[in-house]
Amino acid sequence: EAGVAQSPRYKIIEKRQSVAFWCNPISGHATLYWYQQILGQGPKLLIQFQNNGVVDDSQLPKDRFSAERLKGVDSTLKIQPAKLEDSAVYLCASSPQGYRTTGELFFGEGSRLTVL
């Protein structure tokens, strides 16, 4: 079974530029999450999708971050314009039906963003 795929693995941009990250969850997983992991901290949930609907985006900085999951499968997270404090690893995770099954999330390898 293929795992959660993310791209790009690494991205370096100047502040005020834009960047987009892509995630393809495990086939059949209804729920998709984007987490931000700043160095030295635990992952923080940015947004949670159930199929193609948003369940929780309370911690997403909506003035600069946006995310979509148009067909209920893959997802894109965009940052525009980027700030220095956006330097982090962006983790995508999926689970079969929210947390209801085992409570386990399956993570991708992450996309490391450096903003200069």
Binding site: P43, Q48, D56, Y99, F107, G108
Partner: protein, 116 residues
């Protein structure tokens, strides 16, 4: 709101020995789950062990076991017979399973070094 605290930023252990990683949490929910996730360097986060709060028996998975003290809101991870491959960042996480929105909250992590 849920909070998860890992008071040990770094730990080290000799190969074949036992190490315990600490975690405390705070939740107002009566029904919740607790997890330990492992994040090897530059690799994806994977689930190590899971504990349902309603279960009194401590979870075990091969060399990994937990000490779940519900009244004290403590959830420590014991790794027995440590192996070089156990070296990673370990995150404690809590999930409340009440209501329709399940949110996974992570601690800041403990970096485990295994010395040969």
């Amino acid at each position: 709101a849920q909070t998860v605290t890992q008071s040990q930023p770094e730990m080290s252990v000799q190969e074949a020995e036992t190490v315990t990683l600490s975690c405390t949490y705070d939740t107002s929910e009566s029904d919740y789950y607790l997890f330990w996730y492992k994040q090897p360097p530059s690799r994806q986060m994977i689930l190590v062990i899971r504990q349902e709060a309603y279960k009194q028996q401590n979870a075990t998975e091969n060399r990994f076991s937990v000490n779940f003290q519900k009244a004290a809101k403590s959830f420590s991870l014991k790794i027995s017979d440590s192996q070089l491959g156990d070296a990673a960042m370990y995150f404690c996480a809590s999930l409340n399973s009440g209501g329709s929105n399940y949110k996974l909250t992570f601690g800041k992590g403990t970096l485990l070094t295994v010395n040969p």
